[in-house]
Symmetry: C2
Subunit: 77 residues, 2 copies
DNA sequence: CTGTAGACTCAGGTCGACT
DNA sequence: TAGTCGACCTGAGTCTACA
């Protein structure tokens, strides 16, 4: 599983767990809604600061987001 | 402290602790030496996959790298 | 609410050369 | 060994619009 896919999967799971729409998340993270869509589908990858922004809104440390993505990648290398 | 600076600081510390030159790190991480230089000085920020590559060579989980950078940012917000 | 597409800007990342 | 410069190319991130 590629990094973008792993990140996208984790992002979608956490966002839904928070009951947030892509639009709401995008708005609060100061990003574009279409970009969140691309990220979740693994078609784009985030930069470091984007990871920080998103994790901030999701209410988890960025390290945790990354940890989940890494774990996801190890499932199906 | 901006994200790029925090990441750069942590990167430089870990790299030196490993006794690696920028060039060696760049070579193994499949990146450019000048880009490592820019990263360490906080003039550029890494993408997600770049964080993964670098942490792999440094022998730490990417989550740990991010964690250290986050901690660095909290020192002087 | 989300996926998608086109067009756009700017920064991520490369490369060669010089200090 | 590391910093820097200039040119270059790709991809991160935006915006509008439509299904």
């Amino acid at each position: 599983m590629r990094p973008e896919e792993a990140f996208g999967k984790v992002l979608r799971e956490l966002r839904r767990k928070r009951g947030l729409s892509q639009e709401k998340l995008a708005l609060e993270a100061d990003l574009d809604r279409t970009f969140i869509s691309l990220l979740e589908r693994g078609l784009r990858q985030p930069s470091f600061s984007t990871i920080l922004e998103i994790s901030k809104i999701l209410g988890v440390p960025a390290a945790h987001l990354v940890e989940l993505a890494e774990a996801e990648m190890k499932k199906a290398p």
